[in-house]
């Protein structure tokens, strides 16, 4: 099989037809060899846009039922896989089981948009994507080095687009299987070049795929999108990445989301997320990747895929909730976690009710509004010492500007006292000032003075909040009367 691959590698595009790997590869190779296709791929500029346009146009126009697409896709992938199977059984054998004959004509998707030269195989793109995914998805060990080397030779010539990263793009061969592997390699090996990677990916994909069906586009779109998303949100939290991907991908996913529905969109989005994660960490094996794609022996239809994506999202959110709810770290398992969450929410709601009841029973002190607000803000902001000093100075200044009107000053005095008492609690040196306060203004109302003195004495004596509480309330009662 190495010889076969070597043969493909050695072939140049025009001669590919003549070489006979097997019928499947031949047909596959035909698509690559199409000169029109090459010309269309010469523009290296807006690969992303080109790809997106290609993606969108078939996606928007196609109304192929998902199931049909999936069937065709599966067959195509299987056929493609068999090509690879011939080369490396371990990588692709399991998910790709189909007859070796690659019958591309059976795939009839309606949209042959921009890349007309391609014998319209929209599933090809999907296969390409899948294979590239497979190649990147931890199957690199399976890829033999000679394979990659052989692919390198043909890859560089066949794919014009990957000029920027030709070195890394080495495995971009004309061979579909190798090409997919190569894209996978390039993707994993060059995570930092997200954009160029995207362009590469798209270029390779676009070369092979004239049109896309929704199920197919799901996978492929996720690759470039994942790459595109990787740069803007490499450090974002998982849910943020997911949400960002969702938002930015909504346009694309909506384009082709009509038949596939939310599940596919979620699949793409999650795939993007996974891919972005994977791209951001190139050297480590992309385990998350596999979860998005079809696992071994698991169905690859859109429903199970969407299900898996949904499950990933839910587990992600459960993890986030675990951090929020205290004491949930030891708990493992969704049901128990949910119970914990429910208990916590109930307890919080009950606490709110209890506190509001407490606030209702507390004797309202309307005059304390602004000072209360300020002090509370000060306390919460940790500016307590400074706030107390300012209050203290205002308390000192207060009696001097004070007119013997007992109604207003009394009301205003109380908060000053409370403030100073708070400060006394913390520092305990405003007492002299209060004493001075009382001494300096003998014309203060008798009630006022009595209260002050009682409060001060109590404060001096015990210097405890409970005493203050008692003094304040007694003072209040007196003054209110």
């Amino acid at each position: 099989m190495a010889e076969v691959l070597n043969r493909t590698a050695a072939q140049r595009q025009p001669t590919w037809n003549t070489r006979g790997l097997n019928s499947a590869t031949e047909q596959v190779g035909n698509w690559f060899l199409n000169p029109n296709w090459n010309n269309s791929m010469d523009q290296s500029d807006p690969f992303e846009s080109a790809l997106s346009s290609m993606v969108s146009s078939p996606a928007a126009a196609s109304n192929v039922p998902v199931s049909g697409e999936n069937v065709m896709m599966r067959e195509l992938i299987g056929k493609l896989g068999n090509i690879c199977n011939s080369g490396d059984a371990s990588c692709y054998s399991t998910p790709l089981n189909s007859p070796p004959r690659l019958n591309l004509s059976m795939v009839n998707l309606p949209n042959q948009s921009t890349l007309a030269p391609f014998s319209a195989d929209p599933g090809f793109a999907d296969r390409a994507a899948r294979l590239s995914c497979f190649s990147t998805g931890g199957n690199f060990g399976g890829l033999n080095d000679p394979l990659m080397d052989s692919f390198k030779l043909s890859g560089n010539q066949s794919v014009n687009v990957n000029g920027t990263q030709s070195n890394q793009n080495s495995p971009m061969a004309g061979n579909s299987g190798s090409d997919k592997k190569n894209t996978g390699v390039s993707r994993s090996s060059s995570p930092e070049n997200a954009e160029s990677g995207v362009s590469k990916e798209e270029s390779s994909v676009s070369q092979q795929i004239p049109s896309r069906n929704d199920a197919g586009t799901r996978k492929r779109k996720s690759i470039p999108r994942g790459k595109a998303k990787e740069t803007p949100s490499p450090a974002a939290a998982d849910d943020k990445v997911a949400s960002e991907n969702d938002e930015s991908n909504s346009k694309r996913s909506k384009r082709d989301g009509a038949p596939a529905g939310n599940g596919n969109a979620k699949a793409t989005n999650d795939g993007d997320e996974k891919r972005s994660k994977e791209n951001s960490k190139p050297p480590e094996p992309p385990k998350d990747y596999i979860h998005v794609r079809a696992r071994r022996g698991q169905a690859t239809d859109s429903h199970s895929l969407a299900e898996r994506v949904r499950r990933e999202k839910i587990s992600e959110r459960m993890k986030f909730l675990q951090d929020l709810v205290p004491g949930c770290n030891k708990v493992i398992g969704k049901a128990v976690m949910l119970d914990e969450i429910i208990n916590y929410v109930q307890s919080l709601q009950r606490q709110v009710e209890f506190l509001s009841m407490k606030l209702a029973t507390v004797n309202p002190r309307m005059d304390v509004n602004m000072e209360a607000l300020l002090s509370k803000m000060f306390q919460s902001r940790g500016l307590l010492p400074q706030g107390i000093y300012s209050m203290d100075s205002s308390a000192q200044a207060f009696p001097f500007g004070y007119q013997p009107q007992q109604g207003l000053p009394l009301n205003n005095g109380i908060p000053n006292i409370t403030e100073t008492q708070f400060s006394m609690k913390t520092q305990g040196f405003q007492l002299p000032s209060i004493n001075g306060f009382t001494d300096a203004n003998p014309q203060v109302g008798s009630v006022w003075e009595d209260d002050l003195q009682s409060i001060v004495q109590m404060g001096f004596g015990q210097n405890q909040p409970q005493s203050y509480q008692g003094s304040i309330t007694t003072g209040q009662v007196k003054i209110e009367l």
């Binding site: 499950r311 959110r317 919080l348 506190l355 029973t361 004797n363 309202p364 509004n369 902001r381």
Partner: protein, 165 residues
């Protein structure tokens, strides 16, 4: 402290409402009925100020405000026509969302597990506006709701401590 954080926004709003509530001078301020009435008003003010302080669009805030408005309007029976219309609109929306939820949760239930759905329904009852959401969004809303509830509890605790001193 961040002056524009959720905490400070909620605190200012709630304190303002609290002072308004305390400004009412009933005949006997310490009677149980009066206390209960004040309790209800304070709780409503807390929920309302929390819902208004939230910057991001959340389902539960709308549900909280709608519940408060419907409750208050139901009691006073003022502007029933507009309220009924808005209620019908919201009910239609929730019905539609429920249908969607049913379609999604059937698949979701299959994937998540039947037992989980039972607890999820319990969670739906707890989180305002949770009846009309799919499981994934429900978890999102729950996280945000928990965060806001903890803020609420912290601020109210501080205020209660301050008042009781």
């Amino acid at each position: 402290m961040n002056p524009s954080s959720l905490k400070s926004r909620f605190a200012t709003r709630f304190l303002r409402a609290l002072t308004q509530i305390h400004a009412r001078k009933p005949i006997c301020p310490s009677s149980p009925t009066e206390i209960f009435r004040r309790y209800r008003r304070i709780k409503a003010a807390a929920d309302k100020s929390m819902a208004y302080s939230v910057r991001s669009r959340r389902t539960w805030t709308g549900a909280v405000l709608w519940k408060l408005r419907s409750r208050s309007c139901g009691r006073r029976s003022v502007k029933t026509s507009t309220l009924v219309k808005s209620q019908q609109a919201i009910e239609k929306k929730t019905r539609h969302e429920k249908q969607n939820k049913n379609t999604t949760t059937t698949t979701g239930g299959h994937g998540v597990g039947f037992g989980v759905e039972a607890t999820a329904s319990e969670l739906r009852e707890l989180v305002p506006g949770g009846e009309a959401m799919d499981y994934c969004n429900l978890l999102d809303e729950t996280a945000h709701y928990i965060k806001c509830l903890t803020t609420q509890v912290k601020v109210m605790k501080k205020i209660a401590d301050f008042y009781s001193l």
